[in-house]
Amino acid sequence: MGLKLQNVDKLLGREIHLKDINLEFESGSRNVLLGHTLAGKTSLLRIMAGIDRPTHGKILIAGQDVTGVSVRKRSVAMVYQQFINYPSLNVYKNIASPLKIAGVKKSEIDRRVHETAEILHIEDLLDRMPAELSGGQQQRISIARALIKNADLLLMDEPLVNLDYKLREELRIELQEIFERREAIVVYTTTEPAEALMLGGNIVVIDEGRILQTGPTSDVYHNPTTTKAAEVFSDPPINYLAGSVQGAKAHLGKGIQFPLIDHMQGLPPGQYTFGVRSNHLFINRTSTEDTELRGKVALAEINGSETFIHVQYDNSRLVVQKDGVHPHRIGSEISIFVSPCCFFVYDADRKLVASPSRASIANWLK
């Protein structure tokens, strides 16, 4: 049962919500839709589900045109950001509801409710009412209700975004195990690059209603074909430095230059944008080839196990990611080191012309 979207547009008056969407999802595949808030992720899921009709274009399921077919007649389950449950039904009845509507036998419902509740570790809560439960438990019920249908299409719209980060950590791991055992097409939306990478599978990077890039998640992460795709797929933000190539050297303004090594060999002369992710900037020199940039600390953000050091450098802001928790005073001077082997190179049209080789990065990090 494959799902295909052909030339899909969604317009609301003059506003473009989605434009030129062409996608194909295979049965049993895991897919991530990655994009900032308001990129069009939810609009796209609603069209896939059949809740909304596209303005133009077709939706095909197993080769059949289902564009106008109502969501009720499709085999689809969806989990939302908000914890949506029936407030007047206990947990058991909430989970059982899709099967009850479908007229499934009572003994069969009972078996499947217990089976699903066990997967989500909510067996002990079956008699409780949703309002008595924590946010994490409520979202587990919504997920259970989606899973119990065994639908062909399982849509998850930022299901963890409203949970606190410790619950998010736990559920994220559990969800991966759950998806692995399913034959459904899973489509999962997120704004977070790390979440996308953890889920793996295939990715659709979307921005302002248009698809920027598709492919295996890890390939796209390591080869974002436009500066915009790299921005969407980097957190903390990717760092860009304007520069030029003359002869066998790249120049980054302020008299900084480095040789065109590895993947950058043979770049024709011209103006380029050099991109480097924050985890490839260091505050200690790692090799003699490193380029040094001097700046001032704008903020040290502490993200649990890492410190993101925001640095004011030559009218732009760079972010350096460092393992562990480290204090840095705002305004203090700091040196940043970068190895040329880590640069993504984008041309004047902001299209990727060279991406770093993972092997040389690994080699350099050793």
């Binding site: 808030t37 606190d164 993200n303 649990g304 196990s305 562990g324 080699n363 990090l365």
Partner: protein
């Protein structure tokens, strides 16, 4: 600005609390220095809002007292305590201009118009609000509105402390760093007592010089962000700070070696000696980034099974199994994930021993 002392505080929402579990605040005895940047960090339901309400005066504690600069204020209502508060959602007069919003708390106190103007302009400058002063508050973005809420606290020269309750909830993720920076700058410039309440470790650790971690109605550890990360003295702190949290393994002690179901892990001598004297259930704790993962047998390496690996881009999190216990290790980029089997080394510096959930100590 004021030094705040909390003396033997406890609070229960029950009229006749029976046992400890009926208390939302169990025992809080603590001093907050004048001009400090503090964060109160804990999960939902840990009692942090109750404590905040006790400090601001919205709630009178069942037991104990609150002192501001040595004066007992336990019975005083919020308006007599000179506390300013910034909430999750901006609280403003939408129809008033930014200037009038900022001036409101001062005019309310009958301060002269020339003084009002001076203070408002000063605070607007600090918060980058000067260009918006004549605009109506209603049309502004969420981050500007939150800055106005903060500004209404800052304009008052008599304010004892400013309390923040998850103030960045409504701010777009990519603008948060900017406001975090602004809050730190305000603190550096004005040396106010700031108390920031949140369940989000990023907010707490980025903002505060001293973070108080709260769990089940108690302050379980107070320290700098680095101390909490590197040297958690309570199991909950190890779990709650860091992502993923600290690994814990039940163990027994054999000299300076911790035994985990047959596997031996050598501890720091001093840590082991403290463990020998400690009472209660012993557990070894180590952070995922401090575990050394090897693909081949190494000296002192403990054999483990590799269960799963997740690529997070800049590092990998691998799930390991040691005699049935699950461990998580963080592998830097560029390191290959061992297949099936691996050997773990526990650097003594980072391997901690906990007894009944608390770091062993003298």
């Amino acid at each position: 600005m004021a030094r705040i002392e909390l003396k033997e505080l406890a609070h229960s929402y029950f009229t006749h609390p029976k046992d400890e579990s009926d208390y939302a605040l169990k025992r809080i005895h603590n001093e907050w220095e004048d001009g400090g940047a503090y964060a109160l960090l804990g999960p939902s339901g840990c009692g942090k809002t109750t404590l905040l309400n006790v400090i601001s005066g919205l709630l009178t504690p069942s037991k104990g007292s609150v002192f501001y600069d040595g004066t007992d204020v336990t019975g005083l209502p919020p308006e007599k305590r000179n506390i300013a508060q910034v909430f999750q959602f901006p609280v403003l007069y939408d129809t008033m201009s930014v200037f009038n919003n900022l001036a409101f708390p001062l005019r309310n106190r009958g301060i002269s118009e020339s003084e009002v103007k001076k203070r408002v302009l000063e605070v607007a400058e600090i918060l980058d609000l000067t260009p918006f002063l004549q605009k109506r508050a209603a049309g502004l973005a969420a981050d500007a509105k939150q800055k106005i809420s903060l500004g209404r606290g800052l304009v008052r020269s008599d304010v004892a402390a400013i309390l923040f309750d998850e103030p960045l909830t409504v701010i777009d993720p990519h603008l948060k760093w900017h406001l975090r920076r602004k809050l730190k700058e305000v603190h550096d410039q004005l040396k106010l007592t700031l108390i920031y309440v949140t369940h989000d470790q990023v907010e707490a650790l980025t903002f505060a010089d001293q973070v108080m971690v709260m769990y089940e109605g108690e302050l379980v550890q107070i320290g700098t962000p680095q101390e909490l990360f590197e040297n958690p003295t309570h199991k909950f702190v190890g779990y709650f700070i860091g992502s993923p949290g600290m690994n814990f393994l039940a163990c027994t002690l054999d000299g300076n070696t911790a035994r985990v179901d047959g596997a031996g892990i050598v501890l720091d001598d001093e840590m082991a000696a403290l463990g020998q004297k400690a009472q209660g259930k012993l557990e070894l704790g180590i952070r995922p980034m401090h575990l050394e993962v090897h693909g081949k047998p190494v000296d002192g390496g403990v054999p483990v099974k590799v269960k799963a690996a997740e690529d997070q881009g800049s590092f990998k999190i691998i799930t390991l199994s040691l005699a049935g216990h699950t461990l998580r290790a963080r592998l830097p980029e560029g390191h290959t994930v061992p297949q099936n089997e691996a050997w773990l080394r526990f650097p003594t510096r980072w391997t901690k021993l906990f007894a009944d959930g608390r770091l062993v100590s003298t």
